[in-house]
Amino acid sequence: MNALTFPTPASSEAAEALRAEVRAFLAETIADRPPHKRAETWFGFDAGFSEKLAAKGWVAMTWPKRYGGHERSALERYVVLEELLAAGAPVAAHWIADRQSGPTLMKFGTERQKADILPRIAAGKCFFCIGMSEPDAGSDLAAVRMLARKVEGGYVVNGTKLWTSFGHHAHYMILFCRTDPASQRQEGTSQFLVDLATPGISIKPIVDISGSHHFNEVHFTDVFLSDDAIIGAPGNGWQQVTSELALERSGPERFLSSFELLVRLVAWLQSRPESQAESQAEPQAEALVGRLVAHLAVLRRLSRSVATLLENGENPGLQAAIVKDLGATLEQEMPEVIRHVLALEPMVESPDPAAAVLAQLILSAPGFSLRGGTREILRGIIARGLGLR
């Protein structure tokens, strides 16, 4: 496999039938969701919605039935995800658990952990957050300092995790930290399943630039975790955490974040009065819509192709990095180019949905090329894959 290996994505009639079902469900369930809320995409939080989705069998779709899953194909799961995101459904509550925490437990967890946790995730009732970043460990994740010190029967954990998305709503965290105090870099790290109700954990809000509270700092003070909280083998944390990242990087959430704004542009073009329709700007606006649709359609193909590679048990870390980098670039460009056509002042509280969506996206766009690995880190991964490092 090289950087340009993107096989033909799988497709099936069953998946297309499912697509129709999901659309009908969304048309009913989120009919009233306003456009600027839809523009939150996978950062829109609604625990009730996650539970309804789970009741339809659309959470934990590919997991074994004995863990509450539905044994559907990765392709069918992809269809559900992209339909949810394109519609702007509030999926944040279960998103991380479904995308990476559950699969990590499935792959590395003990039978007890799996039996205890996975059915609750599948029911849409158990939410997770990611405990990777620290004050001094961002892009350089191997610089984590947080230490779980071995004691009789378990570990005592002290330190701080940062930028923890939805930590304040989550029931559990998958914690990545050091277990060997003498270790350097990637060595001596482990992952833990942490019940956030454990004494000694305090969660403090971090307000983002838009004024909303979605991420947090999570402080651990002498938190005792029993031996059975460890996920996988002690010391195997780095291998596990990097395999988790491939799951994080190539899904449809990496290119659909600004889709609602394109919907608004199309709505505006369709409804504009005749006098404006004749204007000089018209062909340019149509061409812009066309160009953005072309970008989205091609990214969607590449992303489905990576899903196919994952399904076939390959490790498409390189392809995933390419999709995420292209996707984030597009998501960030969309508000910048669409604003020239709409010529509207972005306003959070505007009654004009296009102005409100534009505001939401301008304020969230900087994060698109930070979360899940920065643009620079991804490009380094791609360069390594090309054989330059």
């Binding site: 950087a3 992209e82 519609a87 919907v263 369709q270 160009r291 072309a294 970008h295 990214l299």
Partner: protein, 339 residues
Amino acid sequence: MSFEASLLFETADRLLAKECTAERLLEAQAGGWLAGPWAALEQAGLTQAMSLGEELPASTAVQLARIAGSHALPLPLAETMLAGWLLARAGLDAPEGAISLAMGDDLSFEDGKASGTLRRVPWGRHVAHVVTVVERYGVAHLLCLPTAGAGLTEGANLAFEPRDDLAVDSAPVAAAAFADGVAGFRAAAAAIRALAMAGAMASTLDLTVRYANERSQFGRPIGKFQAIQHNMAILAGQAAAALGAGDIAAEALGAREIGVLPIAIAKVRAGEAAGIVAGLAHQIHGAIGFSQEYRLHFLTKRLWSWREEFGAEAEWSRLIGRQAVAAGPEGLWPLVASI
């Protein structure tokens, strides 16, 4: 992909690697017809690869256009292959030899005879026939026009590939109604350019990676500098997008009708990638890439030409945009998801 298809592609790749030497490319650039290599392509069955029926679907065979593009093949392989397929769709027999494709906007068709000018015909001076399309009383007709006797005005694209005007007056042509219409014809031609661009970008990436690892400055390979690495990553991303676009275009030739929308998408995306890829590749190569002597320009000049041919981004993006606006806010996502 079937075993037969991968075998054919491997054969083609090896054959083209052997035939497309720098000397040959320069010879073609100077206006020469590479008779030997053309005979080799015909002998290997490549010129008719899209007409093998069940054995090899056209939507797979058309990937040969990408392979040809990756070698900057200076011969109308893709045109001949596609022309044969289009003729068969209209129920016409494909003539022997090289065939080109051109739009028939300045051509009229009456009583089995064509008059007017075919413009910018790829390899026009070298081919025996050109396939074109004209609309008459609202019905599109596919024409197969012999070039013998046509008035020739030579021209070329930026890569010095022949793009000639051919003038005819009451020339007898084979003709039949063409269900895919003028738009379908133009899209099919655009599809082979999108695929060729994808191939040329894949090769540009390979060439540039190799160069970045070989060329040393300040005591290390330039590929060790982070600025170069990040530009290479951008180049690779654009090449990947172009290949994805090419695949979308190829599949659109398999359907019962030629898929104009997916091909428009492919041409727009590959066309945009072409400029970025060519620009970065030249930057990373420094002055050597700017010389005739080094191979890069054969690829980049084709990228700058092909992105314009059979509709540039401006044209195709408007077509997509109009369809998207017609679909409306509710129909936009279903349109994207249908590709």
